[in-house]
Protein backbone atom coordinates (compact mmCIF):
# COMPACT_ATOMS: atom_id res chain seq x y z
CA UNK A 1 0.00 0.00 0.00
CA UNK A 2 1.20 3.50 -0.78
CA UNK A 3 3.19 4.86 2.15
CA UNK A 4 1.29 8.08 1.89
CA UNK A 5 -1.75 6.49 3.38
CA UNK A 6 -2.12 5.50 6.98
CA UNK A 7 -3.21 2.09 7.91
CA UNK A 8 -6.22 3.24 9.89
CA UNK A 9 -4.28 3.79 13.08
CA UNK A 10 -6.72 6.12 14.71
CA UNK A 11 -10.45 6.08 15.14
CA UNK A 12 -10.81 9.56 13.72
CA UNK A 13 -13.23 8.52 11.01
CA UNK A 14 -15.54 6.83 13.48
CA UNK A 15 -15.94 9.90 15.63
CA UNK A 16 -19.31 11.62 15.78
CA UNK A 17 -19.62 14.73 13.71
CA UNK A 18 -20.64 16.90 16.63
CA UNK A 19 -19.73 20.50 17.23
CA UNK A 20 -16.08 21.20 17.94
CA UNK A 21 -15.56 20.78 21.61
CA UNK A 22 -13.11 23.47 22.45
CA UNK A 23 -13.09 27.17 22.01
CA UNK A 24 -9.81 28.91 21.93
CA UNK A 25 -8.77 32.50 22.13
CA UNK A 26 -8.57 34.68 19.08
CA UNK A 27 -5.03 35.56 20.12
CA UNK A 28 -3.90 32.00 19.48
CA UNK A 29 -5.18 32.08 15.94
CA UNK A 30 -3.89 35.59 15.34
CA UNK A 31 -0.39 34.59 16.46
CA UNK A 32 -0.44 31.47 14.33
CA UNK A 33 -1.70 33.40 11.33
CA UNK A 34 0.92 36.09 11.72
CA UNK A 35 3.67 33.46 11.86
CA UNK A 36 2.18 31.87 8.76
CA UNK A 37 2.22 35.15 6.87
CA UNK A 38 5.80 35.83 7.95
CA UNK A 39 6.82 32.36 6.81
CA UNK A 40 5.30 32.98 3.39
CA UNK A 41 6.86 36.41 3.23
CA UNK A 42 10.33 34.96 3.64
CA UNK A 43 9.89 32.79 0.59
CA UNK A 44 8.33 35.16 -1.92
CA UNK A 45 9.46 38.22 -3.82
CA UNK A 46 6.29 40.18 -4.41
CA UNK A 47 2.94 41.00 -2.92
CA UNK A 48 1.10 39.07 -5.61
CA UNK A 49 3.10 35.97 -4.81
CA UNK A 50 2.44 36.38 -1.11
CA UNK A 51 -1.27 36.61 -1.74
CA UNK A 52 -1.04 33.55 -3.95
CA UNK A 53 0.69 31.61 -1.18
CA UNK A 54 -1.88 32.68 1.37
CA UNK A 55 -4.63 31.68 -1.03
CA UNK A 56 -3.02 28.27 -1.41
CA UNK A 57 -3.07 27.75 2.34
CA UNK A 58 -6.64 28.99 2.48
CA UNK A 59 -7.55 26.49 -0.20
CA UNK A 60 -6.29 23.70 1.99
CA UNK A 61 -8.55 24.87 4.80
CA UNK A 62 -11.60 25.43 2.64
CA UNK A 63 -11.56 21.96 1.11
CA UNK A 64 -11.59 20.35 4.48
CA UNK A 65 -14.00 22.68 6.18
CA UNK A 66 -16.77 22.12 3.67
CA UNK A 67 -17.56 18.43 4.08
CA UNK A 68 -18.01 18.33 7.81
CA UNK A 69 -19.95 21.56 7.76
CA UNK A 70 -22.40 20.49 5.07
CA UNK A 71 -23.01 17.25 6.91
CA UNK A 72 -23.83 19.19 10.07
CA UNK A 73 -25.83 22.10 8.70
CA UNK A 74 -27.60 20.68 5.68
CA UNK A 75 -27.98 17.00 6.34
CA UNK A 76 -29.30 15.12 3.36
CA UNK A 77 -29.53 18.14 1.06
CA UNK A 78 -27.10 19.79 -1.27
CA UNK A 79 -27.24 23.30 -2.64
CA UNK A 80 -27.74 23.18 -6.38
CA UNK A 81 -28.47 26.83 -7.05
CA UNK A 82 -25.89 29.58 -7.03
CA UNK A 83 -27.93 31.73 -4.68
CA UNK A 84 -28.34 28.82 -2.29
CA UNK A 85 -24.65 28.14 -2.06
CA UNK A 86 -23.87 31.83 -1.67
CA UNK A 87 -26.29 32.17 1.21
CA UNK A 88 -24.77 29.07 2.74
CA UNK A 89 -21.34 30.64 2.47
CA UNK A 90 -22.40 33.98 3.90
CA UNK A 91 -24.26 32.39 6.81
CA UNK A 92 -23.37 28.92 8.12
CA UNK A 93 -19.90 28.65 6.62
CA UNK A 94 -18.76 32.05 7.81
CA UNK A 95 -20.36 31.56 11.19
CA UNK A 96 -18.75 28.18 11.73
CA UNK A 97 -15.29 29.36 10.77
CA UNK A 98 -15.20 32.97 11.83
CA UNK A 99 -17.82 33.15 14.52
CA UNK A 100 -20.14 35.55 12.72
CA UNK A 101 -21.87 35.94 9.39
CA UNK A 102 -20.33 37.95 6.61
CA UNK A 103 -21.69 41.47 6.49
CA UNK A 104 -23.08 41.64 2.99
CA UNK A 105 -23.64 39.61 -0.10
CA UNK A 106 -24.04 41.56 -3.33
CA UNK A 107 -24.23 40.88 -7.00
CA UNK A 108 -22.36 42.93 -9.55
CA UNK A 109 -24.64 45.20 -11.57
CA UNK A 110 -23.13 44.52 -14.90
CA UNK A 111 -21.99 40.94 -14.66
CA UNK A 112 -24.16 38.03 -13.67
CA UNK A 113 -21.15 35.86 -12.93
CA UNK A 114 -19.73 38.11 -10.24
CA UNK A 115 -20.77 38.34 -6.61
CA UNK A 116 -19.27 40.08 -3.65
CA UNK A 117 -19.00 38.98 -0.07
CA UNK A 118 -18.24 42.02 2.00
CA UNK A 119 -16.83 42.18 5.49
CA UNK A 120 -15.83 45.30 7.28
CA UNK A 121 -13.28 43.57 9.49
CA UNK A 122 -12.41 40.02 8.54
CA UNK A 123 -11.27 37.82 11.38
CA UNK A 124 -8.00 36.96 9.71
CA UNK A 125 -7.06 40.60 9.52
CA UNK A 126 -7.44 41.41 13.21
CA UNK A 127 -4.07 42.52 14.50
CA UNK A 128 -2.67 42.81 10.99
CA UNK A 129 -1.40 46.19 9.90
CA UNK A 130 -0.05 46.59 6.42
CA UNK A 131 3.02 48.78 5.87
CA UNK A 132 2.65 51.48 3.26
CA UNK A 133 5.02 49.95 0.76
CA UNK A 134 2.90 46.82 0.57
CA UNK A 135 -0.41 48.57 0.73
CA UNK A 136 -2.07 46.32 -1.79
CA UNK A 137 -1.55 43.29 0.42
CA UNK A 138 -4.70 41.96 1.94
CA UNK A 139 -4.26 38.95 4.13
CA UNK A 140 -7.85 38.08 3.48
CA UNK A 141 -6.32 36.36 0.44
CA UNK A 142 -6.34 33.45 2.86
CA UNK A 143 -10.13 33.73 3.15
CA UNK A 144 -10.34 34.08 -0.63
CA UNK A 145 -8.50 30.81 -1.15
CA UNK A 146 -10.70 29.20 1.46
CA UNK A 147 -13.85 30.35 -0.31
CA UNK A 148 -12.57 29.31 -3.71
CA UNK A 149 -11.87 25.78 -2.52
CA UNK A 150 -15.18 25.51 -0.69
CA UNK A 151 -17.17 26.66 -3.72
CA UNK A 152 -15.21 24.39 -6.01
CA UNK A 153 -15.77 21.39 -3.77
CA UNK A 154 -19.48 22.20 -3.57
CA UNK A 155 -19.72 22.00 -7.36
CA UNK A 156 -19.57 25.70 -8.18
CA UNK A 157 -16.10 26.37 -9.58
CA UNK A 158 -15.16 30.01 -9.29
CA UNK A 159 -12.25 32.39 -8.92
CA UNK A 160 -12.20 34.38 -5.69
CA UNK A 161 -9.99 37.34 -4.99
CA UNK A 162 -9.68 39.73 -2.07
CA UNK A 163 -9.89 43.49 -2.48
CA UNK A 164 -9.82 46.55 -0.31
CA UNK A 165 -13.30 47.88 -0.81
CA UNK A 166 -15.83 48.80 1.89
CA UNK A 167 -13.54 46.99 4.27
CA UNK A 168 -12.63 43.73 2.63
CA UNK A 169 -14.51 42.45 -0.37
CA UNK A 170 -14.15 38.95 -1.69
CA UNK A 171 -14.98 38.99 -5.36
CA UNK A 172 -16.40 35.70 -6.58
CA UNK A 173 -16.41 35.08 -10.30
CA UNK A 174 -18.19 31.88 -11.23
CA UNK A 175 -17.30 29.87 -14.28
CA UNK A 176 -19.56 30.22 -17.32
CA UNK A 177 -20.72 26.67 -16.95
CA UNK A 178 -22.03 27.31 -13.46
CA UNK A 179 -24.20 30.23 -14.51
CA UNK A 180 -25.45 28.39 -17.58
CA UNK A 181 -26.40 25.45 -15.43
CA UNK A 182 -28.15 27.69 -12.94
CA UNK A 183 -30.19 29.30 -15.72
CA UNK A 184 -31.28 25.98 -17.08
CA UNK A 185 -32.35 24.92 -13.60
CA UNK A 186 -34.53 27.96 -13.29
CA UNK A 187 -36.13 27.29 -16.61
CA UNK A 188 -37.44 23.99 -15.37
Amino acid sequence: MDARFTRGKSAVLERALGRPRSELSLAAFALLFSELVQYCQRRVASVAELQARLALLGRHVGLRALDALVARERPGRRDTKVLGVLLFVKGPLWRALFGREADKLEQANDDERTFYVIEREPLVNTFVSVPRENSSLNCAAFAAGLLEAALGAAGFPARVSAHWHKGTTLMIKFDEAVIARDKSLEGR
Binding site: S22, L24, A27, F29, L36, L56, L57, R64, S129, P131
Partner: protein, 180 residues
Protein backbone atom coordinates in the same frame (compact mmCIF):
# COMPACT_ATOMS: atom_id res chain seq x y z
CA UNK B 1 3.17 43.69 11.51
CA UNK B 2 0.95 43.99 14.52
CA UNK B 3 -1.21 46.52 16.20
CA UNK B 4 -3.48 46.43 19.21
CA UNK B 5 -7.06 45.83 18.22
CA UNK B 6 -8.18 47.90 21.20
CA UNK B 7 -10.42 45.10 22.36
CA UNK B 8 -9.54 45.49 26.01
CA UNK B 9 -8.60 42.62 28.22
CA UNK B 10 -11.62 40.49 27.27
CA UNK B 11 -10.31 37.45 25.52
CA UNK B 12 -12.28 36.94 22.36
CA UNK B 13 -13.05 33.35 21.70
CA UNK B 14 -13.33 31.57 18.41
CA UNK B 15 -14.10 28.03 17.48
CA UNK B 16 -11.20 25.66 17.15
CA UNK B 17 -11.91 24.34 13.67
CA UNK B 18 -10.38 27.19 11.76
CA UNK B 19 -7.34 27.06 13.99
CA UNK B 20 -6.92 23.31 13.58
CA UNK B 21 -7.34 23.51 9.82
CA UNK B 22 -4.96 26.44 9.50
CA UNK B 23 -2.32 24.61 11.48
CA UNK B 24 -2.83 21.61 9.24
CA UNK B 25 -2.39 23.76 6.16
CA UNK B 26 0.81 25.14 7.62
CA UNK B 27 2.30 21.73 8.40
CA UNK B 28 1.33 20.42 4.97
CA UNK B 29 2.96 23.37 3.29
CA UNK B 30 6.10 22.88 5.36
CA UNK B 31 6.23 19.22 4.40
CA UNK B 32 6.07 20.22 0.76
CA UNK B 33 8.71 22.90 1.11
CA UNK B 34 11.23 20.86 3.06
CA UNK B 35 12.44 17.49 1.96
CA UNK B 36 12.57 15.70 5.26
CA UNK B 37 10.75 15.52 8.57
CA UNK B 38 13.69 16.70 10.64
CA UNK B 39 13.75 20.04 8.86
CA UNK B 40 10.01 20.42 9.25
CA UNK B 41 10.33 19.71 12.97
CA UNK B 42 13.05 22.33 13.28
CA UNK B 43 11.05 24.87 11.34
CA UNK B 44 7.96 24.27 13.46
CA UNK B 45 10.04 24.71 16.58
CA UNK B 46 11.47 27.97 15.26
CA UNK B 47 8.06 29.30 14.34
CA UNK B 48 6.74 28.24 17.70
CA UNK B 49 9.59 30.11 19.34
CA UNK B 50 8.64 33.30 17.49
CA UNK B 51 5.05 32.88 18.53
CA UNK B 52 6.01 32.15 22.14
CA UNK B 53 8.06 35.30 22.39
CA UNK B 54 4.98 37.36 21.54
CA UNK B 55 2.49 35.16 23.30
CA UNK B 56 4.08 35.74 26.69
CA UNK B 57 3.37 39.46 26.48
CA UNK B 58 -0.23 38.85 25.56
CA UNK B 59 -0.49 36.35 28.37
CA UNK B 60 0.98 38.60 31.03
CA UNK B 61 -1.23 41.43 29.90
CA UNK B 62 -4.39 39.38 30.10
CA UNK B 63 -3.86 37.30 33.17
CA UNK B 64 -2.90 38.92 36.41
CA UNK B 65 -0.28 36.36 37.35
CA UNK B 66 2.75 37.74 39.06
CA UNK B 67 6.26 36.37 38.93
CA UNK B 68 6.51 32.65 39.62
CA UNK B 69 8.77 31.76 42.52
CA UNK B 70 9.73 28.32 41.45
CA UNK B 71 9.35 25.81 38.69
CA UNK B 72 6.35 24.16 40.30
CA UNK B 73 4.42 27.40 40.24
CA UNK B 74 5.45 27.89 36.63
CA UNK B 75 4.12 24.46 35.77
CA UNK B 76 0.80 25.23 37.42
CA UNK B 77 0.44 28.52 35.63
CA UNK B 78 1.27 26.98 32.27
CA UNK B 79 -1.15 24.11 32.62
CA UNK B 80 -4.06 25.76 34.38
CA UNK B 81 -4.02 29.28 33.03
CA UNK B 82 -2.03 29.52 29.83
CA UNK B 83 -3.19 26.38 28.08
CA UNK B 84 -6.76 27.09 29.13
CA UNK B 85 -6.58 30.61 27.81
CA UNK B 86 -5.07 29.82 24.44
CA UNK B 87 -6.12 26.33 23.56
CA UNK B 88 -9.12 25.78 25.80
CA UNK B 89 -7.66 22.65 27.39
CA UNK B 90 -6.17 21.94 30.79
CA UNK B 91 -3.34 19.43 30.71
CA UNK B 92 -2.41 17.62 33.88
CA UNK B 93 1.01 17.80 35.47
CA UNK B 94 2.75 14.58 36.42
CA UNK B 95 6.06 12.81 36.69
CA UNK B 96 7.99 15.35 38.64
CA UNK B 97 11.66 14.46 38.75
CA UNK B 98 13.15 14.09 42.24
CA UNK B 99 15.07 17.34 41.82
CA UNK B 100 11.90 19.24 40.95
CA UNK B 101 13.31 20.46 37.66
CA UNK B 102 11.47 18.26 35.20
CA UNK B 103 7.80 17.48 34.75
CA UNK B 104 5.37 16.19 32.19
CA UNK B 105 2.27 17.78 30.79
CA UNK B 106 -0.34 15.22 29.81
CA UNK B 107 -2.80 16.39 27.20
CA UNK B 108 -5.83 14.20 26.74
CA UNK B 109 -7.02 16.01 23.68
CA UNK B 110 -4.97 18.35 21.62
CA UNK B 111 -6.91 20.84 19.47
CA UNK B 112 -4.04 20.96 17.00
CA UNK B 113 -4.56 17.35 16.00
CA UNK B 114 -8.33 17.12 15.68
CA UNK B 115 -9.05 14.96 12.64
CA UNK B 116 -5.36 14.48 11.88
CA UNK B 117 -3.65 11.25 10.98
CA UNK B 118 0.03 10.90 10.25
CA UNK B 119 0.81 9.10 7.00
CA UNK B 120 3.33 6.29 7.15
CA UNK B 121 5.99 8.11 5.21
CA UNK B 122 6.11 10.90 7.79
CA UNK B 123 6.47 8.79 10.86
CA UNK B 124 9.25 10.94 12.34
CA UNK B 125 7.30 14.14 12.01
CA UNK B 126 6.47 15.76 15.34
CA UNK B 127 3.22 17.32 14.24
CA UNK B 128 2.62 19.53 17.26
CA UNK B 129 6.21 20.65 17.56
CA UNK B 130 5.01 24.23 17.38
CA UNK B 131 3.88 23.87 20.98
CA UNK B 132 7.42 23.05 22.12
CA UNK B 133 8.74 26.17 20.47
CA UNK B 134 5.97 28.29 21.98
CA UNK B 135 6.72 27.07 25.50
CA UNK B 136 10.44 27.52 25.03
CA UNK B 137 10.11 31.02 23.60
CA UNK B 138 7.61 32.21 26.16
CA UNK B 139 9.65 30.97 29.12
CA UNK B 140 12.84 32.40 27.73
CA UNK B 141 11.24 35.83 27.85
CA UNK B 142 10.69 35.39 31.55
CA UNK B 143 14.26 34.45 32.14
CA UNK B 144 13.91 30.68 32.17
CA UNK B 145 15.81 28.43 29.82
CA UNK B 146 13.92 25.18 29.35
CA UNK B 147 14.08 22.15 27.20
CA UNK B 148 10.74 20.97 25.85
CA UNK B 149 10.03 17.86 23.93
CA UNK B 150 7.30 15.40 23.09
CA UNK B 151 7.54 12.06 24.78
CA UNK B 152 4.25 10.54 23.73
CA UNK B 153 1.99 11.49 20.86
CA UNK B 154 -1.54 10.30 20.10
CA UNK B 155 -0.74 10.61 16.41
CA UNK B 156 1.88 7.93 16.76
CA UNK B 157 -0.44 5.55 18.53
CA UNK B 158 0.08 6.48 22.17
CA UNK B 159 -2.95 6.94 24.37
CA UNK B 160 -2.12 10.47 25.46
CA UNK B 161 0.13 13.25 24.37
CA UNK B 162 2.95 13.90 26.81
CA UNK B 163 5.26 16.90 26.77
CA UNK B 164 8.34 16.77 28.95
CA UNK B 165 9.66 20.10 30.25
CA UNK B 166 13.06 20.41 31.84
CA UNK B 167 14.36 23.46 33.57
CA UNK B 168 17.92 24.19 32.47
CA UNK B 169 18.86 27.44 34.11
CA UNK B 170 17.74 30.89 35.01
CA UNK B 171 18.82 33.45 32.39
CA UNK B 172 20.66 36.11 34.30
CA UNK B 173 21.58 38.56 31.56
CA UNK B 174 19.10 41.25 30.75
CA UNK B 175 17.57 40.46 27.43
CA UNK B 176 17.47 43.34 24.98
CA UNK B 177 14.24 45.28 25.15
CA UNK B 178 13.08 44.34 21.69
CA UNK B 179 13.67 45.60 18.22
CA UNK B 180 11.85 48.84 18.75
Amino acid sequence: MSRQGGRGTESKKMNSELFTLTYGALVTQLCKDYENDEDVNKQLDKMGYNIGVRLIEDFLARSSVGRCHDFRETADVIAKIAFKMYLGITPSITNWSPGGDEFSLILENNPLVDFVELPDNHSTLIYSNLLCGVLRGALEMVQMAVDVKFVQDTLKGDSVTEIRMKFIRRIEDNLPAGEE
